[in-house]
Symmetry: C2
Subunit: 276 residues, 2 copies
């Protein structure tokens, strides 16, 4: 992959890259379409990265469907799928990790302490292997996008990071490979995430700026649905990821909720369009 | 620098890179000559990297002579000097660090706990900025070279790391910018490092394979000189940097000794040529 990418670069070709964990859905496809429009070559990776999963998380049962993914990628005009093994990515005596501090301390960093270290490390590796001019990530993983942008800037990596809007099911549920875990009426309960985002945006539009009051309402809304267990509901600064007491134009509502077995996340930047 | 390097790469030119903290001496020049022979473009950096200095270390008084360095670099046929400011390298809200684990736990990692994190981070940044095909480091900083090699391999950085032999003064003292701190008869005491390496190699050649016995003799030899205070004397595996009890073909004697104010380091891989 690295040799192929280097040969493309020597020919002056532009490489766009979408890193994924596979089990592709419409969210991934929107990133790939963006990449298709930005590069002479569209590369994607499919790799369920073990270092971003904690003990007891869903590494082993994370959904996989390489043949289905391959078909979707081909239809979309993807040129290369980079599909490495764990042995290739983390051989014996592997010892190097990229840590992005501060902005990883809140939100998902609280309940998944090693998660962003794994994300930053695997992205650093993938960027060095695929050598893209641009890499495209979804805004559903809001903190992840912030971590990648911070790493790229801090380590002077020569590529552009593009964030794309969250793609939702017609009823509002944010697309996620983990939605496949939802059983029976858990699917209905999973709507509590997007519904509560909508409720929060309505409060914001009606002039509410007190984070505590919005969070209280969001928690109530989620708890009204069965099968839900809140990990966190927070309102933070979009840049620093620190908790905000009062909302301004740079405030994001981020939430993580177990709905049955899967832990789902969603978020909304106040004042931005919310297509729910 | 990054744009210039990218334009060179697009022309198919090879870039060789020697990262330095300046105050260039014959050791650096040997790295630069190697780089000159390996690249169409020889780039060096001069940057006293604050993140690799601990509290109470010699960051503020580290010797600097940019004009002298510039002259030496030009004479040697160096094409570019990358000479960034701290503000450029570590702007406000800088939060990303590269950690190489395990092999940084012993030796200098014991007495300088953040040192290799700073070294790995700044080298990752410099490699991303200068985009070299090869980077050249001195073997005097044995553990540093191992850390850089490990990081490059682990993070799939597409460049070759070349290690070059330690350059010594005619009397055996390993070249170091920090030798400039030595006052009066401390210079004579500083020979205790290379003399003790020589003594250790003699023991090895006479069949000694017990690390403890060699270390004891090395410590005695260093302590025989005035102004010396040992930080560590260790015999390790060259790959894992773990302490060895018995010597084999992959054993290195590494030592760090304060001689007056400077802390000097030196090392020797048993069985290799030692020009003292």
């Amino acid at each position: 992959m690295q040799k192929y990418s280097e040969s493309l670069r020597l020919q002056g070709k532009k490489i766009a890259f979408v890193p994924t964990m596979g089990y592709l859905h419409e969210g991934h496809l929107s990133l790939m379409r963006k990449g298709r429009s930005r590069g002479d070559c569209l590369a994607i990776s499919i790799y369920v990265n073990p270092t971003q999963f904690g003990p007891g998380e869903d590494l082993d049962k994370y959904p996989r469907d390489f043949e289905g993914d391959e078909k979707l990628a081909e239809e979309l005009g993807c040129d290369v799928i980079f599909y490495p093994t764990n042995q290739e990515m983390y051989p014996e005596n592997y010892h190097t990790y990229v840590n992005v501090e501060k902005i990883t301390e809140n939100l998902c960093g609280l309940s998944r302490p090693e998660h962003f270290r794994g994300v930053a490390t695997v992205c650093a590796k993938l960027f060095n292997i695929v050598k893209p001019h641009a890499a495209i990530f979804g805004k559903k993983d809001f903190q992840q996008l912030a971590v990648i942008k911070r790493m790229v800037k801090d380590l002077n990596m020569d590529l552009e990071i593009i964030g794309m809007p969250t793609v939702r099911e017609p009823d509002g549920l944010a697309m996620s490979s983990r939605n496949s875990y939802l059983k029976g009426d858990e699917r209905e309960s999973a709507l509590s995430l997007s519904r509560s985002l909508k409720r929060a945006e309505e409060m914001y539009e009606n002039g509410e700026r007190n984070a505590g009051r919005i969070i209280k309402e969001v928690r109530r809304c989620i708890n009204d649905h069965s099968h839900t267990r809140i990990d966190y509901v927070k309102i933070c600064d979009t840049e620093t990821m620190e908790d905000s007491e009062y909302l301004d134009s740079e405030s994001v509502l981020a939430l993580a909720v177990w709905v049955g077995s899967p832990r789902l996340i969603d978020n909304h930047v106040f004042g931005e369009h919310l297509n729910i």
